[in-house]
């Protein structure tokens, strides 16, 4: 880990043939080639992980003596209490609790609004259906970055700055979720609907007993992606809160990492703690995340 990142090994890696394609006549060169690949992959890993390593280094080093030592690639005056201080001194627990509440409100609301709307678009006939679908999809052109100024006025006028509703209201519905779950619903075979019909299933029963269970993978992907998005938000919670005690974790990081030079390690430790739920999500739901992220890309 303690090596400088070098980009030199990079470009050659892309142009070499795959290990599986090596000719059968040269087992030795094949082994050499595999060694080359491991070297290249490891070098790339070092580049990708180097920033994370630096964060760890800063989090466990005493900030002043680390700088005084000239920022080496090893920790200086190791002290682990930055992690506990992040909770006791910087009130990270409160920020994480708030972020968790806001995230859960957003995820549950998005799941509800998306599933219902997706069902309507997939299984129900009503006037102006195409127009309504366009109205939903067009909201992709109105992300929070565009509507920030006006939504802030709305929330301020409603006296909802520094509140859970103020932090979550603009995100209760999402065109991405509606589109994704609708695609899943449309994949349900017609025979299954016919069978459900013959069994006397109404719409609600079909939704909860057939459509949703059948699309558990897609809904799971959506929930994980929605959680990631809500937890990682920055711009809206940055401006929808004016009091420190209402800062979500991401916003709290800003003050922690920039305020006092002698306590920078607390901010860096906090950044690690804040990422842990996501690392856990990533490990537990790798398949769902990949499926959700690639939904629009590979299958077009």
């Amino acid at each position: 880990m303690a090596t400088e990142p070098t980009a030199a090994t990079g470009p050659t890696a892309a142009t070499e043939p795959t290990a599986a394609s090596a000719g059968p006549r040269r087992a030795g060169s094949q082994r050499l080639r595999a060694a080359g690949w491991y070297t290249g992959l490891t070098a790339l890993s070092v580049i990708v992980l180097f920033p994370i390593y630096m964060l760890l280094l800063h989090a466990i080093s005493d900030p002043l003596s680390y700088v005084a030592r000239g920022q080496p690639l090893y920790p200086v005056d190791v002290e682990w209490d930055a992690f506990t201080k992040a909770f006791t001194q910087a009130d990270l627990g409160r920020a994480m609790g708030l972020s968790f509440v806001v995230t859960m409100v957003i995820v549950i609301a998005q799941l509800l609004t998306s599933t219902l709307a997706a069902y309507a678009f997939a299984f129900l006939e009503f006037p102006f259906k195409r127009l309504m679908f366009a109205v939903v999809i067009a909201t992709l052109l109105l992300p929070i970055e565009v509507t920030l100024v006006a939504n802030l006025q709305t929330i301020r006028d409603a006296d909802l700055l520094n509140s859970v509703p103020g932090l979550s209201l603009p995100f209760l519905a999402t065109a991405f979720g509606i589109f994704l779950i609708r695609q899943g619903f449309l994949g349900i075979p017609g025979e299954l609907r016919d069978a459900a019909t013959l069994d006397g299933y109404g719409h609600l029963r079909f939704l909860f007993r057939v459509a949703m269970p059948l699309n558990r993978p897609i809904i799971g992907s959506f929930v994980v992606i929605s959680f990631l998005g809500a937890w990682n938000q920055y711009v809206w919670p940055r401006f929808a809160t004016t009091e420190g005690s209402w800062q979500t974790v991401q916003v709290a990081l800003r003050n922690l990492a920039t305020d006092r030079p002698d306590q920078l390690n607390i901010g860096f430790a906090a950044a690690i703690v804040v990422s842990l739920p996501l690392v856990a999500l990533l490990i537990l739901f790798q398949r769902q995340i990949v499926r959700g992220l690639t939904a629009g890309a590979v299958k077009g």
Partner: protein, 313 residues
């Protein structure tokens, strides 16, 4: 995911046994009930969109064509679309746009190339390749704020590891933007890697083998076979990265605060206006500008995607 025309499936003779699902031969009453239920199901989403997507659009237009007195509590006075037009021609808009474009120029091509490089390197049968794949996708666990804190340890002028590297310096207007966009490149690396790898894995093995039998070398195989086959994914990523560049904010606030001398004040930074120095009508007008830009990107995406619609499975 194929679109099955489920809604059109007709179920002759099922009306009698209370069959509401998708029957085209249902009664008028049934149809009315379906329509009612449809709108009932849409209502929560539509209400949320109306309040926090469409009403804001109206309000932005309203604010950008009215003059708001900053100090007196007077109602805003209408001054007309000329004010919006002036905003979109002002140096505030053009400089913000220029900075956003620079951010894009630095982050999009580099992000794409690095993502492809990682994906190509990790797309092979080797023992332990899953570990490398996990490492390469790891940056999706970091938020923009966390990525900014991480890059703080790299490029901050006081404590940054690379503080003496001139082309990464946050103190000079030209390198500051590059440095900031580099944090975006790193943060988006995981996403780019995952999507390109998925696209590579979707290519059947025999395509590559056939190209090899035809005497294609590895470089030619990559540019003539692989790149065209993963081009839909690359296009998708390019759009995602462009949008993410347009929406970059936390990196700038946390690493440079818009400086030095406003050199990293992107369009969104001016809209968000963390120091509270810009008037509401100006920020509303800039928001309209950002909206138009987002729309232009979407239009490009739509036209490119519909041109290659025959590629779809």
């Amino acid at each position: 995911m194929t679109d099955l025309p489920i809604a059109e499936t007709s179920l002759p003779g099922t009306d009698a046994i209370d069959a509401p699902l998708g029957s085209s031969t249902r009664s008028a009453g049934r149809r009315f009930k379906d329509a009612l239920l449809g709108y009932l199901f849409l209502l929560p989403a539509l209400a949320a969109f109306a309040a926090f997507a469409y009403y804001p659009l109206y309000r932005l237009i309203y604010d950008s064509v009215h003059h708001q007195s900053r100090f007196l509590n007077r109602p805003p006075t209408y001054v007309g679309f000329a004010q919006l037009w002036d905003t979109l021609r002002s140096s505030e808009f053009t400089s913000g746009l220029g900075h956003s474009a620079l951010f894009m120029l630095y982050s999009v091509p580099l992000g794409l190339v690095l993502g492809v490089l990682l994906a190509v390197a990790a797309h092979r049968r080797l023992r332990g390749i899953k570990i490398y794949q996990a490492i390469f996708s790891s940056t999706i666990a970091s938020s923009v704020a966390v990525a900014s804190v991480i890059f703080f340890t790299l490029v901050n002028p006081v404590v940054g590891y690379f503080k003496d590297v001139s082309w990464l310096s946050l103190d000079s207007p030209t390198s500051a933007m590059f440095s900031v966009s580099l944090s975006s490149v790193w943060q988006n690396l995981g996403l780019t890697f995952i999507i390109v790898l998925a696209a590579l894995q979707a290519i059947p093995d025999d395509v590559d083998e056939a190209a090899m039998l035809d005497g294609f070398g590895p470089v030619r195989r990559f540019f003539r076979i692989t790149v065209p086959l993963i081009s839909p994914a690359l296009l998708f990523l390019a759009i995602v990265l462009v949008i993410s560049a347009l929406q970059a904010y936390a990196q700038i606030e946390m690493l440079t605060g818009g400086g030095p001398a406003g050199a990293t004040e992107t369009l969104l930074f001016k809209i968000a206006d963390p120091n509270g120095i810009r008037a509401l009508d100006l920020r509303a007008g800039l928001s309209i500008g950002l909206f138009l830009l987002t729309g232009a990107v979407a239009l490009v995406q739509y036209s490119l995607l519909s041109r290659r619609v025959h590629y779809g499975d």
